[in-house]
């Protein structure tokens, strides 16, 4: 048990960072360099895309989204995460992808986003982002990769990141949600899907499908036709969060107590 605790000797019990993740990332010049690279590359892509003319929306937008993910990946890698963090993250991603099987009797029911949000709440913002990005990437290995892959990775990553951030800030407790908190998290999850995740994925459709010279009209058609689907997705997220948030959070907490990951 001493060995387990020594893994987390840097962990400060008074901060709100997750007990399962050593989240003491210090900003160094390398991180600064990465941020500068992103801040230069993104506008450069936009400028080059504009100069090349009206034909490059798919590529330009996909590149911008890819650049937006670089800081998240870089900060995850620069922490050199321990075996346990990586495995817990992998387990949660695999549960997120495989959870569709448990609910196979309800077609169009997509619990993946909800499980990613729970992972974010339990493991913190950065790991939450990775959970979302990896789950989206893996589910596309099963279905098909395409221009939508970076968008899905970013959108689901953001779901994990936002809920992780709320938990890091202490807005959402990491275990034992009471009825009121459970309802609030579930409603928040559903709203996030309808207002943010769905919109990001529809924006991907706008860039890949719409005839751009038609402009705003075509985009509005796509957003409007995506809205009912996003509502269904939001409802599924609400139900999943309401039903499995507590069991999953408790299990993650239990693991951290049983094996002594940083719990004092």
């Amino acid at each position: 048990m001493q060995e387990h605790n020594s893994m987390n000797e840097n962990h400060n019990a008074t901060t709100s960072s997750s007990p399962l993740v050593k989240d003491g990332g210090k900003r160094n010049w390398k991180a600064a360099l990465i941020y500068i690279a992103v801040l230069v590359l993104t506008p450069l892509t936009l400028v080059v895309g504009t100069v090349l003319g009206d034909t490059n929306y798919i590529l330009t937008s996909a590149l911008v989204i890819l650049f937006a993910m670089i800081p998240f990946f870089a900060s995850f890698e620069s922490r050199a995460p321990q075996a346990r963090e990586l495995v817990v993250l992998a387990v949660m991603c695999a549960i997120a992808v495989a959870s569709r099987v448990a609910f196979i009797w309800l077609p169009a029911f997509k619990p993946m986003a909800a499980i990613i949000m729970i992972t974010g709440i339990a493991l913190g913002a950065r790991t939450g982002f990775m959970a979302g990005a990896i789950s989206a990437l893996v589910s596309n290995f099963v279905f098909s990769q395409g221009p939508w892959t970076p968008w899905q990775m970013f959108a689901f990553g953001l779901a994990g990141f936002v809920f992780g951030l709320l938990a890091d800030r202490g807005v959402i407790p990491r275990q034992n949600l009471n009825m009121k908190q459970k309802l609030a998290v579930s409603i928040g999850g559903a709203l996030f899907i309808v207002c943010i995740l769905g919109i990001i994925l529809d924006t991907c459709s706008v860039f890949t499908m719409v005839d751009i010279p038609e402009g705003p009209d075509g985009a509005i058609v796509i957003y409007a036709s995506g809205f009912p689907l996003n509502c269904v997705h939001g409802a599924a997220t609400f139900v999943t969060l309401f039903l499995v948030a507590n069991p999953l959070l408790d299990k993650l907490h239990r693991i951290s107590v049983k094996y002594g990951f940083g719990m004092q």
Binding site: F76, P81, Q82, C93, I95, A98, I134, V138, P213, K251
Partner: protein
């Protein structure tokens, strides 16, 4: 290795480089001649990988392309050459051309992605990214292995629960939801416990003590070098031609194209040759295999 595909025996970096270039060209260059050759080369490669089964995908894409081409003028009223009017809106030649161009681009990109999915298997993907993003690619490898594992486990769990009358296949909606929740929850307990054991095993075998090595071992051989040089030379020629305006096209208000001189044909030939490289690799291998078996 897939039947009929020899390109997947090349170094992962070479194959990834080719697909990035091919998809970028498909999305960036919109002049009809380039799009037509691009689609043709992508389709040929797709067929060389998938054999006869590939025709199904190509037929589907042809239908999709036709729909996109013909529907585009309905929503898009730009252009001056009116063919006829639909509900008082003009149906123009330029919009048909533009629709065809978008359709060609989509078909081309999807065909290359089809080839990519066949060639860039997950082991090749993690081999390439293992050095740059080791933690990420390790998690990716683990998740890819765990997903089918968990799917089996869920089946086991639900079979066991069905024996005691707690099936997700029957009962009221709320009962079934409760059973579904219990399944996910049971899976999570088992998976997390197993995960910690795995992690401890990794630690005691020295995870994180040295540089990450890859399970699969790929060597950059002379053949990879030749392919890369050919690819880069043809890419350079294509870029020069495109920079000189060989790929320029405008759909509004009237359909206009760029130069039609030597530079245009050279650029077209270079890009077509570039995109034909993996098909050439596959066909050459098939032919030499035929010759070697017939001479026995």
């Amino acid at each position: 290795m897939r039947k009929g595909d020899n390109f997947c025996t090349f170094h992962p970096a070479v194959t990834l480089g080719f697909f990035v270039i091919a998809i970028a060209l498909a999305v960036l260059v919109r002049r009809p001649a380039f799009v037509a050759y691009g689609v043709a080369m992508a389709a040929l490669y797709y067929l060389s990988v998938h054999g006869r089964a590939g025709f199904k995908m190509i037929a589907g894409l042809a239908v999709l392309s036709a729909v996109v081409t013909l529907v585009n003028p309905l929503v898009n009223v730009m252009g001056v050459t009116e063919l006829f009017s639909v509900f008082g809106r003009p149906y123009t030649v330029e919009a048909v051309y533009y629709g065809a161009s978008i359709a060609g681009m989509l078909a081309c990109a999807l065909l290359w992605f089809g080839g990519y999915n066949a060639v860039m298997t997950t082991d090749r993907f993690t081999y390439l990214f293992g050095a740059v993003v080791p933690a990420f690619s390790l998690v990716l490898t683990m998740v890819l292995r765990l997903v089918p594992n968990y799917q089996r486990k869920i089946k086991e769990l639900s079979t066991a629960r069905a024996c005691v009358g707690m099936s997700t296949a029957s009962g009221t909606r709320s009962e079934r939801a409760a059973h579904g929740t219990a399944l996910v929850s049971a899976l999570a307990s088992w998976a997390l416990e197993n995960g910690v054991v795995t992690a401890d095993s990794m630690r005691s075998r020295g995870y994180g003590t040295g540089k990450r090595t890859s399970f699969a071992h790929y060597r950059f051989t002379a053949r990879d070098g030749v392919f890369t040089v050919a690819m880069l030379v043809l890419l350079l020629l294509t870029i020069v031609a495109l920079a000189l305006g060989a790929g320029w096209v405008d759909f509004v208000p009237t359909f206009r194209e760029g130069r039609t001189d030597f530079v245009f044909f050279a650029g077209l030939a270079a890009s077509a040759a570039l995109l034909a490289l993996p098909t050439y690799v596959n066909v050459k291998e098939a032919i030499s295999w035929r010759i070697s078996t017939s001479s026995i």
